[in-house]
Every structure is written in structure tokens, then in C-alpha cells.
Amino acid sequence: MLRRAFPILGVLTAALLSYGLYEALIGAPIEQSMGEVQRIFYYHAPSAWTAFLLFTVNFVASVVYLIRRSIKADILALVTAEVGVVFCTVVLVTGPLWARPVWGIWWTWDIRLTSTLVLWLIYVSYLMLRRFSSSGQTPLMAAVLAVFGALDVPLVYFSIWFFRTQHPQPVIGGGGSIDPKMLQVALINWAAFLCFAGLVCWSRYRLELLQREVEETEALEALLDSGGAP
């Protein structure tokens, strides 16, 4: 059922993405103080929201795995972590590209930037753990690490928040009201990115499921071979 729906969903997502791109580059009004560069916002912020959402799903799936030991929850955790890291990378790359022309610096130890960086580091280490451990305990270890990472997030946030208040920082224009049209464009892009992330996660999920099946078959085959020829 879903298999047949996939191309249709793909086309719909592509359409939504192109519409979002059009709105972001042409449809949205020009921001007064930052000019054209502000349009990075329409990719930067929705990517960040998507990444955070995926990491939340990862945490929930990890907890479900710890309680129920379901393989599906484990695969979901792996997939959301991977796609989340991809979106987080987008945030970390577009962030400095926006900061440079606007603030004159590539990077500042701003609370949101730094927390995102730390989050990225935590999830990269999560993926490294999954990659390096090949045994049957991998899902459990990964789920435990995901729980630790989630516990770390508020602590990271507070520590950087306080760190920032002690050290002089470049003034970053925040707050203020946002043009409703701008918000609308950002939300359209967010919807498009969510559909895209959903599709990618889904294909990655199917792939991982298939991969595990193949590995099982292979192991069985090897077992039969060694049993058949003493």
C-alpha cells in the first residue's frame, strides 16, 4: 500500500519543496536591516526545527526500545538520528553563512549556535557507537546513550546560557515581531522539509529492515554451510 504511494508522495514533496523555494527566494518580502541575506532564514530555521523534532523522536524510540526491546523502535531510533544529524549539519553550515554578512563573523558562542553544535556532537558520537559496535547489544547501548544525550540537553543549555552572560558577546539582533508573511513562508518550508525528512526516514527504515533480514539469512547460510561440511 505504502509502496505504491511512495512515488506520489515523492512528487508531492518535490512540488512542496519547489514551492517553498520559490516563496523563500521570490515570494517573501525583503527584510529591512539584513536585506536579501535574511532569506537564509527560510532554510535555516525549518531545518533546525526538523532536526530537533527528529532527535525527540529518537529519544522516544530509544525509551520504547529500553522498555519493550522492539526491533522496530531500534531501527526508528537509528534512522531518526541519522537524518537528524543531516538536518543539524544543514543548520550548522547555513548558520555561519548567514552570520558572516550580517554580524561580520562566522561563528560566535551564542547559546543557540553552541547548543546546536553540542547536540550535533552528541548525535555524531551516537552514530559512531552504532557503527563501531557490531554485536547484538548495539541497540541497547545506543538506546542508553540516547537517554544520556537527552538528559544532557538541558544541562548544556544552562551552562552555555550562563557562560554567555559572563563573556562579552557581539550584539545579535533578536526578538522583535516577525512579518506574518515571513512566518508563513518559513512554515511552508518547514512542512516541505518535514515531508522530505519523513520520506527519507521511511526509505532508510525499509533499507535497514531489509539489511537486517539479509544479514540474518547470511548468518543462517554460514551456519548451514559449516554444519553441512564438517
Binding site: E36, V37, R39, Y43, V83, V86, V90, V93, V200, T217
Partner: protein
């Protein structure tokens, strides 16, 4: 303007490289399945 295009291009380069990574794993897996079927 330069930065704007750079950011949009970078975003899609990152996404497409991830998709390529997934696709490569898929192809490798398909080859493996064929191999197993031949046995």
C-alpha cells in the same frame, strides 16, 4: 546575495550526499540479495 546562494546550495549538497549514501547502501544490499539467491 553570494552568501544566500551558497547557503541554499550547501543545503542541497548535504541532502543529496546523504541520499547518495543511502542509495549506495541500497545497491550494495541488492547485489548481496542476488548473490544469496543464486546460492
Amino acid at each position: 546575495m553570494k552568501f544566500l546562494y551558497a547557503a541554499y546550495t550547501a543545503t542541497w549538497i548535504i541532502h543529496i550526499s546523504y541520499l547518495a549514501f543511502v542509495l549506495r547502501r541500497y545497491i550494495r544490499l541488492r547485489n548481496k540479495i542476488q548473490e544469496l539467491n543464486q546460492k
